[in-house]
Symmetry: C2
Subunit: 246 residues, 2 copies
DNA sequence: CGCGATTTGTGCACGCCTTCACAAGCGCCT
DNA sequence: AGGCGCTTGTGAAGGCGTGCACAAATCGCG
């Protein structure tokens, strides 16, 4: 630790220090820390302890300290972490100081909501282009953008400097869209379609499946109901399945 | 993620179909397997090998076999798994044979999309009630439902048998909504608001934060860019990356 | 100036999950 | 009927992540 001189030069987005290879689990939590830090900053806090930040982010304080230590953290023993400094640090690590350009493909039900979701804009992203394959949608205005045909994706990616693509199409179209995105040079994809995407190495795909989250909750409901099934209740189920054999 | 309590209660009388306490990681993958199995069933496949199903679900075949073995699996050596049987098994485990009733709170931008998302209906859920605290929204029709005021939540939960609540409100309102849901008897919550929810033990919370997913992708983009920091990239960056000092 | 209170950073142990590799089981073909 | 090939189910090993507990470091105060 403390081997890397961080200029922490504000306003300079180009100084590239050694890139710590953070554990995936840590990376997945950094955005949560960042959000909590923004909240703290708004309330005027100058510093925050690991305990306080951990509570705000909903994690264990030891875990938080270890996470922050991985990115060569800037805490002061006996005091805590400097909120503003930590915000800059995490935003830099996450590459959010560039306000990345995002392309959204599929302006159906979900796509509409995503296009209008201000949570993207407020957290480091700009949706700069909307695409659809449906001729009826093409040309329609949506917010400040106009829906373009997916054939224009290649040129748009270059012109707008797009690095991330969001797929909000039906499952059947998702793979083709992914192929188009990859061909256009996009190397990160956020997939809302309920299907598995096949992409070449070097392209990152993250999947968000709304129904899956509900199904996981459903499992826990089912489990909870089966544990409290003694006082006969509504858990009368059609016995379509027998007890597990074995 | 949320606080998790492990049942593993000892004296589970044999009446209830033994509920295998599956690893969380396995549970999270079951919905994916289920989706892949439905696809296979549509193509007319009677059976599928672990290799084939694993490919369709985007996982390792050994992992899939171990997952299925946990639920006392129904495979036949030398042949594979019976698709229809496995679908029934997983749907039962996930509690999807009950078509769970879901309440959606917050019919703003995202809520609208969720209310119209047919992926819920097609995968075991019924959104049976919409709520909002905005008087302007209350009374408006949305699909086949009418937006109700959040005060009616308590009665609706009982009347409709709601077990899962979905929060699609701004972050500022989410905790209050969560409290209302818990007070109404809901024991599972899917939270789309970017904030940490505090709920009593026994209530499961899963969180979906769309911006976080993008931020994780952004990190990988940043990392990739820093590794291929060849001068003359698409963004004119001073490529002064130095080797790690350690 | 030194001491105590406070908080970070981290070594270590434990448990979960993944992956490999292989024995056991099943159907088919001869 | 018997052997052979295919596939499942699982024991074991390794890796990763988590959480505890404590040493190190810093500030404030007498």
């Amino acid at each position: 630790m403390s081997q890397q001189r961080h200029g922490s030069t504000p306003g300079n987005a180009g100084a590239v220090p050694a890139f710590p290879d953070l554990p995936e689990a840590t990376i997945a939590r950094l955005p949560e820390y960042l959000r909590a830090l923004h909240n703290l900053a708004e309330t005027g806090s100058e510093t925050v302890s690991s305990e306080g930040l951990a509570a705000a982010a909903g994690v264990n304080s030891a875990k938080l300290r270890k996470d922050l230590s991985h990115l060569g953290s800037y805490g002061t023993r006996g005091v805590g972490y400097d909120v503003a400094l930590l915000v800059d640090q995490i935003e830099y690590i996450l590459g959010l100081d560039q306000r990345r350009a995002v392309a959204l493909v599929g302006v159906g039900n979900l796509g509409h909501a995503l296009a209008g979701y201000d949570g993207f804009a407020s957290r480091g992203f700009r949706i700069v282009a909307l695409f659809d394959s449906d001729a009826e949608q093409v040309g329609k205005p949506l917010g400040e953008l106009t829906v373009r045909h997916i054939d224009e994706l290649g040129t748009a990616v270059i012109e707008e400097g797009i690095t991330i693509g969001v797929i909000a199409t039906p499952a059947g179209a998702a793979q083709a869209v992914a192929d188009d995105l990859v061909a256009a040079g996009v190397t990160s994809i956020l997939n809302f379609a309920p299907c598995v995407l096949s992409v070449p190495a070097g392209v990152d795909v993250r999947k968000v499946d709304l129904a899956i989250e509900l199904q996981i909750l459903s499992f826990h409901e089912h489990r909870k109901a089966s544990l409290t099934a003694i006082p006969g209740g509504r858990s009368a189920q059609p016995g379509n399945q027998e007890a597990v054999g074995s």
